[in-house]
């Protein structure tokens, strides 16, 4: 990325932490009441994510919505927490 890091590099960078999660199961919280659980295969600078063995949850109705296998590309626009 072109942005210069004015911060002290000895702290934990968010995208480094996401990188460490590659290959692990992660839980993604969207801006809306939707959450995605899956195995992280990769991500890009915009934190669009490629996930596998994905389960999608709607939090308010408290039900599991769709279980999707194969791979999905999750648009990073609506991701709030990882």
């Amino acid at each position: 990325m072109a942005a210069t890091q004015a911060t002290n590099p000895s702290q934990l960078l968010p995208l480094e932490l996401v990188d460490k999660c590659i290959g692990s199961r992660i839980h993604i919280v969207m801006k809306t009441d939707k959450e995605i659980v899956g195995t992280l295969l990769g991500f890009d600078d915009f934190v669009n994510m490629v996930l596998e063995d994905v389960t999608e949850f709607e939090i308010t109705p408290e039900g599991r919505r769709i279980t999707k296998l194969d791979q999905i590309l999750l648009n990073g626009n609506n991701i709030t927490m990882v």
């Binding site: 890091q5 960078l13 968010p14 932490l17 801006k31 009441d33 709030t80």
Partner: protein, 106 residues
């Protein structure tokens, strides 16, 4: 004066230094009404955050000021800077009486 030729030199300077909040508990509000609090472990210039021991609060129509309902322990999380609307320290906040209530004299 400023030298603006064909190149635009953009410096990514933060207007706010988050390093003073490292290892301190902070409260974060997100687009969509979510709130979370946790200890700030890291951040980047795009305002992505690493929070530890994160507690998430969700708003209901009943919620308003009640943050004790529907809290979840999330542990170590990365918060997307594109979604963050507010960051403040956990201390240094207090509830005040509503300053916007107007008293109508008949």
């Amino acid at each position: 004066g400023c030298n603006r030729g064909k190149e635009e030199k953009k410096k990514k300077e933060s207007i706010f230094d988050l390093s003073k909040y490292i290892d301190k508990p902070i409260r974060v509000k997100f687009q969509g009404g979510r709130e979370a609090s946790g200890v700030l472990k890291g951040f980047d210039p795009l305002l992505n955050l690493v929070l530890d021991g994160t507690i998430e609060y969700m708003r209901d129509p009943d919620d308003q000021l009640k943050l004790t309902e529907d809290t979840r322990q999330l542990g170590l999380v990365v918060c997307r800077g594109t979604s963050v609307v507010l960051i403040c320290p956990q201390d240094g906040m207090e509830a005040i009486p509503n300053p916007f209530i107007q008293q109508q004299d008949g």
